[in-house]
Structure formats: C-alpha cells, structure tokens
Symmetry: C2
Subunit: 240 residues, 2 copies
DNA sequence: GGGACACTTCGACGTTCGCCGAAGTGTCGC
DNA sequence: GCGACACTTCGGCGAACGTCGAAGTGTCCC
C-alpha cells in the first residue's frame, strides 16, 4: 500500500486540468472566450463532433464548474462560468504550445489573421488592436506600470470624459494585465478593460466578424480611436 | 471526415492541460511550488509511485516545458521552469476543487494546518502569514488596490528602509495579486513579493518546517513583523 | 574493482476515456 | 396532432495512458 503524502488535503489540480485535457472540451472553452453563450449544437459543429459527444463533454464541464448553463425551450445555452474561469483559460492559452496552421487552408489562415488583428478575450479587447490601445494608454499617461499596473488620475478622467461607465467597487481588480497569446504582449483586462470593451461595442466603434470572436473597428470606431488615442490606421484596416 | 474549425491554428490548450491532468504529475508540480529543486527519487516517494513511473512523468513535464532539469552525478534535479509556470500552477490551484482530508490522519491534518499558516508559494509568502502581511501593508498605505494594485511611494521607501533589494526593472510585474487557495484571500506576489520573501529568509525571520513548503517565523521574525507591520502574535505562533 | 545507489528503458497489463449510432425525450411551429 | 428540431441516454468499440517489475546504465564510495 502506498504512502501517498501527495494526496493529503489540498487542491485537486489534476481534476481541474483533466477538464481541459481534451481537444473537444478545450475547443469549447476557447470558443466561449468570445464572452457569449453558445448552444450545444453550435459547439458540436464548431468542434466537429456528434451531438451526443458534445452533450457528454458539456455535462462534465458544467459539473466541474467551468461552464454555466441555461435552458430556453429546446436549446441548451452554455457560457464560461465567471471571469475567473475566463482568466484561467486565457492564462493557459498564453502558455500553451501553438498548433501550426494546417497547410494550404486559406479560410483557416484568414480566420487566424482576423483573430490576431482584433478579438474579444472574454470581456475585453485583445489582438493587435487590444495591445495597441493598451500601449497608447500607457504612452499618454492613462496607465502606469512602474509600481504595478494602475489606472492613473488622468486615466480615470479620460474614461469619464469618454462616458465609460465603471462598475462600483467590486472584488474584481480594476486593471489587470492579460498576456495576449497572438501578440505575446500584454493587453488591458480587469473591470476597466471590460468597461472599455463594452463601451466600444455600445458606441458602435467595433463590430463582430461572423460568428467567432474576431471583431473589427467600424469607420466611426477608426475615427474615435485616432482622435482619442492617436492610433494609426494600421490597427484599423482589414488585412489583405 | 470532420470539418473541425476548432482545430485551426491557435493555442493547444488540451496539450498543456493534459500535462497536469494526472494525479502524480499534479503532485509533482504542487510540491515544486515550494520553489526548490527536488530529485526524482524524492518526488517519487512524495507521490508514492515507483521510480520508473516518476521518470516517465518527469520526462513528459520537462518535454512539455513546465519543468527544467539539472543533472548532478547520479541525481536528477528538477524545478519549475519559470515564474510564469509557477503562476499558472497557483492559478489552477486556487480554482481547483479541494480534496477532503483523509479521515483520522493526524499527521496529514497537521501538515495541512502548517501549510495554511505559512508557506512559500513558489517565491513569495502565502498562507495566513502571507495574507496578513499583505493586509497590513495595505492598511499602512504601502500597497494601494483602488486603481489597480500598486506599490505606493511609502511602500518603496519602506522596502528601502528594510533593506529589501528589488531587482532592476524587468518584464516581471512589480506587484501581483495571488489568490491564496487556503485563505481564499489575496497575498502579494510579483517581484516585490519575491524580494520580501527572500529578505525574510536572508534575515532569519522565517525558516522552513521539515522538507515541505511550510515555513514558520522565528523569534526574531515575530519581533520584526510586530515592529515593522504590527502583526499580532496569532500569525506567528505554531499551531496547537 | 566491486557493491550500492539513482535513475532509465521497455514490455505487459489493466483502466479510463472519447467517440459514435441508435433509440429516446422534450420543445416548437404549422 | 404531427413532424421537425435540439438534445439526451447508453452500450459498444478502439485508443490512450498510468503503472510496475525486471533488466540495464551511469555515478559514487569504500
């Protein structure tokens, strides 16, 4: 009989990691990083598996606490359970090895490029656009990284001037650095990152591309980003 | 043939999670969160597996990039690859379900209590002591959480007065919040958290308990923590 | 030089898991 | 009320994985 010190009370790391240690379940979680709710059938199609397979995987992810579900008639909607879960998926994604592009698939390459340009990372902006916004805010003194990441007084005023509504003080950090796994540089997350992203959608600055989590700035958005943050059009044009 | 949108270019989340989705490999990684290097035999004993099993698991963890290895004679030492890996394990541990204590095992309960009181969390202090230090620094205006976690000017001066050497500006965040999985409240991580922990060891304020990652303050440490941070003795006494 | 120690390799074994199709249930819309 | 749709349940199948012991290799110390 083994004497297993390792299995005393503590976090069951293996149980949590096992939830994500499967290509289909991982694909579901990455898809849900767009912040929206998907139906079981949508996720099955996205991952290329049978509906029965999708049901079984979703049951495990919900039971394990990573997803939350909601029934509407004959549809089963699921979403990531909470921001902490999204942050975990983001962290894992930033450290995970990259899967190479399948050779010769132009649609797939275009999708990857669109994701790299601009996407939602659960509830904030990511991709080259998200990183550019973060760097511009830093240059303009709205964010300060020197003694930890903080929103400066200028930053608070700037958000108020934009009409960005921050939620009342919560347990959630106001600003958080999120390592962008396509750009390999940080973009802004946390409550401020989420509020800025919501504002960008609400103001019609950005719009979704297709059904994925890629987004693109609109003409009004390009103008606003140029005026408010001095971003050049390179971050704002559709790629070729 | 399936049409798997999900398997286009992107992070291979499942491959990374699979590295940790096993009780033995998870136990290795949690043990290595003490920040030290362990030999293969020590890890095998800790996890209660045969040496051959340990070798095979370590090979996978090294190949997967989570561990780094070093040979010294007939000993194979391994450690966590870098702070980013440690942070990932910490994040997973804080969200993982808790494994209940085995019934009636007094040694195991004592080990859990010791870990909850004070331990190293890779390179910074965790447990009730780590959380208390963080809360006291916040009360005294050395840390500010309101617009993102930042070390204040008072905090920088305080560290200088203590003789805590901060590394030159690096890519690593100066301060980072780490959710303590025993206390369920945040403790201080990042470069400042690491420097404070190193100072506590160097100054003889804390000492390791046995071979695990539990630590305990010394008499000198208790006095220093009382004088410098106003911590009461409840955080500093060995449990009963 | 030889014995002990730390670790590795590999084949065998048992278990677990992902997948699917078929049959079923619950919901909607005509 | 019935057909279509979304989803679920379950048994079967094949693959993958963790474990170990035995045999082996490399290192140390007497």
């Amino acid at each position: 009989m083994k004497n297993r010190d390792a299995h005393t009370e503590g976090p069951d790391l293996a149980a949590l990691a096992a939830l994500l240690a499967d290509g289909t379940r991982a694909a579901f979680c990455l898809a849900l990083l767009d912040g929206r709710a998907w139906t079981a059938t949508e996720l099955a199609r996205h991952a290329g598996v049978a509906a029965s397979t999708a049901t079984e995987h979703l049951n495990r992810l919900v039971a394990g606490g990573l997803l939350a579900e909601e029934r509407q008639g004959r549809h089963r909607y699921v979403r990531l359970a909470d921001p902490a879960t999204a942050e975990l998926i983001e962290n894992l994604a930033s450290l995970a090895p990259r899967r190479p592009a399948p050779p010769g698939s132009l649609p797939a390459v275009n999708r990857s490029r669109a994701l790299a340009r601009a996407r939602t990372c659960y509830d904030h902006l990511a991709g080259a656009l998200g990183v550019a916004i973060t760097e511009s805010m830093t240059r303009r003194g709205l964010l300060d990284w020197e003694h930890g990441l903080t929103l400066t007084a200028d930053g608070t005023a700037w958000l108020a001037e934009l009409g960005v509504a921050l939620p009342p003080t919560t347990r959630r950090p106001a600003v958080r650095s999120c390592l962008d796994w396509t750009e390999r540089r940080p973009h802004l997350a946390g409550a401020v990152g989420a509020a800025l992203c919501a504002h960008a959608f609400d103001s019609g600055w950005i719009t979704r591309i297709g059904t994925g989590r890629a987004v693109a700035p609109t003409a009004a958005g390009r103008q606003a980003l140029r005026e408010r943050l001095g971003l050049s059009d390179e971050f704002c044009t559709p790629g070729s």
